[in-house]
Symmetry: C2
Subunit: 147 residues, 2 copies
DNA sequence: ATATACCCTACTTAATTACTGGGGATTGTG
DNA sequence: CACAATCCCCAGTAATTAAGTAGGGTATAT
């Protein structure tokens, strides 16, 4: 499993905010309830996202969280990296061997993997996710729910 | 860090075998010494690869490990999956919500990530790695060792 | 005033990773 | 044939990370 619950829960939750963009704040309780995620755990994830400037908060009754910018401006990569840390595959096992061999054959592979992941996550915004979702839901409607 | 030492050590070690393809077995001690990997740990990784049929062993003095097939026939993906298990990004957080929503917007993302990783690792063989390495080493030779 | 929300830090539990150790089986070599 | 080199296998352990809990504090709409 490449992503931990941090990234998975976090992306779901942010997507939820994005679906409510422009409609005021959404409370932790609502989101954690909907996805059965521990409220306190999710709070910690949101704290990271807030520090990175992707979400904002409104305190007090009827308060909650909201996106700090348009869904078009936030990529999946921003969220995943904020929560999971940098998505790297490897550091060199032994710098010694690496420098002796001038170039590490395996490092090339790992860099390719990293780049292909970045290609995906940096090129999908929250807005894209919403579009994608709508398209897919129409498709399933037409076909009477496959799965 | 997406890959653990299992995949990283393992791929290095198998690559080492591939460089010795056709020249007889290579002992654990040599490989673990070269890369400063615990002999016993590497042994466990090799055990998995042997069970999957990628490497073979010769016991007794002058024995060791060797590829069970040509480097052209073994992909990076085979090795990484044997060692790390399936490279999946996620399971659904809550089946309930997923089915209620008909389709999970985040799942689409995770599948894309998985596919792009597979694209990379299933299309590089050990033989490719060797070629790549040679090309890169020539480049560095010409330029008087950059790093 | 008070209930509803976020804010923050520390602790705990569970799982996984990354080893370590040791006894056993095979086999080429002197 | 003895013996050292090598793989084989299983069990244990230490370290790290992930995942979740707990609780007291602050802001604010009503």
């Amino acid at each position: 499993m490449i992503l931990s619950t941090k990234g998975r829960y976090g992306l779901k939750a942010v997507f939820e905010l994005s679906m409510n963009y422009g409609l005021g704040p959404v409370s932790l309780r609502k989101i954690s309830g909907k996805y059965s995620i521990s409220e306190s755990y999710l709070e910690q994830l949101f704290a990271k996202l807030r520090k990175e400037g992707y979400i904002e908060t409104v305190r007090g009754p009827r308060g909650g969280y909201l996106l700090a910018m348009e869904p078009e401006k936030i990529t999946v990569g921003m969220i995943l990296r904020a929560l999971e840390g940098d998505i790297t595959t490897s550091e060199c096992i032994s710098k010694d061997v690496c420098s002796r061999e001038a170039i590490c054959a395996t490092r090339v592979i790992f860099e390719k993997i990293e780049n292909s992941i970045s290609d995906v996550i940096d090129n999908i915004t929250l807005a894209d996710m919403q579009v994608k979702k709508n398209i897919l839901m129409e498709e399933t409607d037409e076909q009477e729910t496959i799965s």
